[in-house]
Symmetry: C2
Subunit: 123 residues, 2 copies
């Protein structure tokens, strides 16, 4: 992920409706949600929601596929992953001793554990 893509992703997540939509789609999981259901869930108008969803899609954070009359949106975990990696890139690459505490605090929420203390991270 380059800087431009990261900027686009951060901009996409910096707007209330879009952030909520993204979180909603993560919670919805692989089955996703129809555009109309998203708008209903967020108490927003159809066209406003549509534009915001396309903003998230352009940022690579969600995907869309047509299913009959509906269009199903799904969170794109690869996009989220790329953004997380981008955020950690500098501390991992340039200052690993600063990065380790961050990742060690984040990881436990998903059942991931560390086998390294910060001192071990010289590479």
């Amino acid at each position: 992920m380059d800087t431009y893509q990261a900027l686009t992703a951060f901009a996409a997540l910096s707007q209330p409706l879009r952030l909520e939509a993204f979180r909603l789609l993560i919670k919805a999981g692989p089955q996703g949600m129809a555009a109309g259901d998203i708008a209903t869930a967020l108490n927003a108008k159809a066209n406003t929601t549509s534009q915001n969803l396309s903003h998230l899609a352009q940022a690579g954070l969600i995907t869309s596929t047509r299913a009959g009359r509906s269009i199903i949106y799904r969170s794109n975990m690869d996009g989220l992953n790329a953004l997380l990696r981008f955020m950690l890139e500098d501390c991992c690459g340039g200052a690993p001793e600063a990065c380790a505490p961050v990742i060690n605090m984040v990881a436990p929420c998903c059942g991931v554990t560390s086998n390294n203390s910060p001192k071990d991270l010289k590479s």
Copy 2:
């Protein structure tokens, strides 16, 4: 971290100069950098840089302390950590099977390893 704080942080990172400044400060590590040096490194004017740095500070992503005539800015790893947790909160809380692959791809860059396969994450 609540939604408002997350929005502020994403907005702070959605602007080229601010994103670069933040990355620069992460690379700089605990010793930080003076405001003037940051402006020089980013080829930006002093006042523009100052305003952007205060934006990042308000978002909790960096801190500032005065040292003589200079003001030293440092990245705030706690702020970054909180933002990362916020981003993972929904998949960890609502859809852990979607979250695990993400964290497992991110973690290795900091020497953190997983002891769980996605199947294990029922909690």
